[in-house]
Symmetry: C2
Subunit: 260 residues, 2 copies
């Protein structure tokens, strides 16, 4: 087997472009690094290319994964540490980087029969957005709609924080509020806006079977969602003086509440 | 007013040592940077020294805060940008760094009359631990006990993620499991261990008035908490295939559930 030793190799150079949002969008691909994410990608059948360092096969778990991946894709490349580091975004890439396919679905074909869908309206921190995906997956949620101005869910940090949720849930990006509201209407989804105050205490909330839960920006709340156009408003009551919760924590409390 | 222009100035050099855990523990102090955290520190009466850049007073909010802080402490120093950056841990320190006092309380004197206390058993990510503090504050929780092996809650990243919770709640560090269990017994607190599976579904949980909620390490769960010695075990049911929640999200769901 040939080993790629140059970071200028054509495959490697093309894969590295996926560190940029522009190329991720253009190609419908993204990067996932590390053992755990590569395992989840393999389970989900998302892997299109594999770049690994030979030491990755030294553990039983690594060797088993390489075996499965080599059966799944012919674009299976052993690379030097230098090449691997050029593809990786963390300081400890754990010996493997995969190019994965985005789950591309037209919003017109997205018609879940039940369960919560999150609408992210301006979440900026990729760790928070990734955590929302992880929570949605764990709660049995149905998908994620990102309005324009939200951080890219296929960003490496978001992918890592999702712990694999990114492979499992349909994700829609760069939507407008009116497009999302129309989708909700067409599919019987009730828009529920999470707000800092006002609306219904989440503990008293009668959650609809089909909830589109709108989560806003970390500092400024909902940006594009039009308050007068949502179906319901919900809040988490906080202790005096405390101002807010972390966006991913607030989303987690509401997502699980909506599934109960 | 004299401006400190050297990062080797004695006050500045002493303050900078607080970037290290060793000195934070020795002195019972920690660093807080940025407008928001400095405001919260001022409200909580925690500020002992102030280092600010002259441009910090250019906004109304900044000017107002400086006025309040200069009344509160005589260790009030205008510094150059270079000096400020030497004290700051973020890339955009926003013109102010405060030295704050840790809320030091002996565990023997910690006797809350009700409400949840979190026991952190090996949480490694300071962002997660800070987020737990933020949630605890927002939920009206009573305190945080960290077992040895947990990241330092007075670490700068944790302080920032707590959004001010670090000033408000009593925090105990480097405790042993037996010490924490003894404390719980002495004060009528029931230990409740959050586990990946087993125990009671949190939706069916009859939360005690006084809950000591044990949250484990991100990857390995509870490390020092002895399963046979806890009063109750609780879990959050997850969708098939999904393995886990982010530790701060799981803690948030359980903390709010316990307050209902």
């Amino acid at each position: 087997m040939e080993i790629i030793t140059s970071a200028q190799n054509q495959w490697v150079a093309e894969a590295r472009k996926l560190q940029q949002k522009k190329f991720r969008e253009e190609r419908g691909l993204f990067l996932a690094e590390g053992l755990r994410l590569a395992e989840e990608a393999a389970k989900a059948g998302s892997v299109q290319e594999v770049y690994y360092h030979e030491t990755f096969g030294d553990t039983d778990r690594g060797a088993e994964l390489l075996k499965a991946l080599s059966a799944e894709t012919r674009r299976f490349f052993q690379v030097t540490a230098k090449v691997l580091n050029s593809l990786a975004e963390t300081e400890t890439p754990q010996g493997i980087v995969c190019v994965c396919g985005q789950r591309r679905l037209s919003i017109r074909d997205f018609a879940p029969e039940r369960g919560v869908v999150v609408l992210a309206d301006g979440i900026q921190d990729p760790g928070n957005l990734g955590s929302v995906l992880r929570t949605l997956w764990a709660a049995g949620g149905s998908g994620l709609i990102c309005l324009a101005g939200t951080t890219d869910p296929f960003n490496g940090k978001c992918v890592r924080a999702s712990m694999g949720g990114i492979y499992r849930l349909p994700v829609f990006t760069d939507m407008t509020w009116s497009g999302a509201a129309r989708w909700a209407l067409d599919h019987g989804y009730t828009t529920v806006a999470a707000e800092a105050g006002g609306g219904v205490d989440y503990r008293q909330m009668k959650w609809p079977d089909k909830t589109l839960l709108c989560i806003g920006n970390e500092a400024r709340g909902l940006l594009s969602v039009v308050a007068e156009e949502v179906g319901e408003r919900v809040f988490i009551p906080l202790a005096e003086e405390a101002e807010s919760l972390n966006a991913a924590v607030a989303a987690g409390i509401l997502i699980f509440s909506s599934m109960n």
